[in-house]
């Protein structure tokens, strides 16, 4: 089978299954999307609050360390020693003075510059020098691989390509306001992490959050309680490249109406025993919408679903699997009551979530289906037409997915 990653414009509405199953396509995606030209999410500034604090994380499949140095800057370096290639940093997070690879104790400062090489000038014995590095060996040429770093409003992004456009240009003016709405610079507070390994292609997760067609159907809680359903007031927006997107909605009344008649997941008689799950409190910074789901291609989803906030970090590990890391957060100045509310609403999300557990299952089973017949089959992405609508004011559309594949096929061409 010949793989041609160029999708004809009219075919943006038909995604070939091999996009999810082909090894060479996946390798190309890592090189062209995760390791080049794209800002990838690495974490929140508050996770490395003080000099020496570090967090071990991933860009694509590559292990990187985000660290705050003595001047207070945040650096991101690849977790591979310049000597023998050892992945030296083994803790998930912690505090250090410098990076030391335990194997031969090469040490690096917190910017990734090589500082110490044991026995650099060899060992003197009986008036003779034994060993040592060649005279031509320059420490400056053997630092850790440094990534370019961008920080905005408390979230940190990194890129292996130092010539990349600014983070602001990357996000694009169409969506920057939705980004800033959550990351306004108001100090954040991490509430904790949830991690799940989803046996599906990483793009399926982005598609899931660019797909406003499914939540009102798959997710009983969303339909029944009006959090997300087709008759809510909604907008779908994209950046000019169509790679990122925002799904924006305002919670409706819930309950029964025309929209729910044929929806089998709607439970008219469902009442919560404990109403605190949905004790939603309006926050001023929302400026209207009760939920904004922002996908920043290729690595992260920024979630505001009523009072629950999280980043969902996509860490692919093969064509058919990715790790999905949820960082739930609130604001440093949240009242105790608000923190409690965010934590209770967090039960809707994550691997055990009343809502999100559905998505992980659906993605896994889609992957299984695509693997079964990858050669000539396609996914039909025609809800709302076969073109890309730059702005849609309802949810009955898969335009955001078509947009993403338009961008994807351009980057993957050749």
């Amino acid at each position: 089978m010949k793989i041609d990653t160029k999708l004809e414009n009219r075919k943006l509405s038909e995604i070939p299954f091999w996009a999810y199953t082909d090894e060479s396509v996946y390798k190309k995606e890592l090189e062209r999307l995760f390791y080049n030209d794209h800002w990838c999410y690495v974490g929140l500034e508050v996770e490395v609050q003080n000099p020496g604090d570090f967090k071990n994380t991933l860009v694509g499949e590559r292990s990187v360390v985000m660290v705050r140095d003595d001047e207070g800057s945040i650096n991101v370096v690849e977790n591979v020693c310049a000597h023998k290639g050892m992945k030296f940093c083994r803790e998930k997070h912690g505090k250090i003075k410098d990076f030391i690879c335990p194997y031969h104790q090469w040490s690096y400062d917190l910017k990734g510059n090589l500082e110490g090489v044991p026995l650099l000038r060899g060992m003197k014995k009986d008036g003779k020098v034994q060993g040592g590095m060649p005279k031509t060996f320059k420490k400056s040429a053997h630092g850790l691989t440094k990534l370019k770093v961008a920080i905005r409003g408390g979230a940190v992004f990194a890129s292996f390509n130092h010539d990349i456009e600014s983070l602001e240009d990357y996000i694009g003016e169409e969506l920057l306001g939705y980004y800033d709405r959550v990351f306004s610079g108001r100090p954040l507070k991490v509430l904790g992490y949830n991690k799940q390994r989803i046996p599906g292609n990483w793009k399926l997760m982005l598609e899931n959050i660019k797909d406003p067609y499914h939540p009102g159907l798959l997710h009983t809680w969303f339909v029944t309680f009006g959090l997300w359903r087709s008759d809510n007031e909604s907008e779908l927006k994209m950046d000019k490249h169509f790679r990122h997107a925002a799904m924006i909605t305002t919670r409706g009344a819930g309950g029964k109406d025309d929209q729910t008649t044929n929806v089998s997941s709607f439970k008219g008689n469902m009442e919560l025993n404990d109403k605190r799950f949905l004790d939603v409190k309006y926050e001023d910074w929302w400026n209207g919408p009760t939920a904004v789901m922002l996908t920043l291609f290729p690595s992260v989803i920024i979630q505001q679903q009523v009072n629950s906030l999280s980043t969902r970090h996509i860490q692919p590990n093969g064509k058919g699997s990715f790790d999905f890391v949820w960082t739930h957060f609130g604001f440093e100045d949240d009242s105790e009551e608000m923190t409690e509310r965010r934590l209770i609403q967090a039960n809707l999300f994550g691997p055990a979530g009343f809502v999100s557990a559905d998505d992980g299952e659906a993605i896994q089973f889609v992957q299984e289906g695509c693997q079964q017949k990858p050669d000539d089959s396609v996914a039909i992405i025609k809800m709302g037409g076969i073109e890309i609508d730059k702005h849609t004011d309802h949810m009955v559309s898969e335009t955001l997915i078509r947009g993403m594949y338009d961008y994807w096929s351009k980057k993957m061409e050749g």
Partner: protein, 157 residues
């Protein structure tokens, strides 16, 4: 010194709890808890670093009921069997009505493909209360080591 009768009672309690889940007798599971209860499934990483987030955090019997309604009626998922292997308990503290105890557990998951996997391993950290001669849960925290959850977590641990 803990008398054997109490030890036996706590031990039975742990085994009965595991059996209620493994046999999917959800009403029975709910009845292990008092009205005003705490039930959390939390990664060891969050627990050790004092992050309050859990994978699942329920704080009333009403929430437990909502969860059971969720797993039986609303959460789309592929069914799986669970088998819990629960260690003998460590009784840490006994007062007139309360018992603080712990036990280690391993949960195996078997899906439709018939392959058993180690699904969740950790420990229960419990506060039990005696009500009419019976032990009930005031607080159970399931603190699991393997923070990377194998896709989804539907049923209680």
């Amino acid at each position: 010194m803990i008398d054997f009768e109490l030890y036996q009672q706590v031990q039975d309690f742990y085994q009965d709890y595991a059996m209620s889940i493994d046999s999917e007798q959800w009403d029975k599971w709910i009845d292990f808890f008092v009205e005003d209860c705490v039930y959390k499934i939390q990664s060891r990483d969050n627990f050790d670093n004092n992050f309050p987030l859990s994978a699942l955090a329920l704080s009333s019997k009403g929430m437990l009921k909502d969860r059971i309604y969720g797993i039986t009626e609303t959460i789309y998922h592929e069914h799986y069997y669970q088998t819990h292997v629960v260690s003998t308990p460590r009784i840490l503290k006994v007062t007139e009505n309360h018992i603080e105890s712990e036990a280690r557990y391993a949960v195996f998951r078997t899906k439709q493909d018939g392959i058993a996997e180690v699904y969740n391993v950790g420990r229960y950290i419990d506060r039990l209360v005696r009500v009419d001669g019976k032990l009930l849960i005031e607080s159970r925290r399931c603190i699991f080591d393997n923070e990377m959850i194998l896709n989804s977590m539907i049923y209680p641990i």
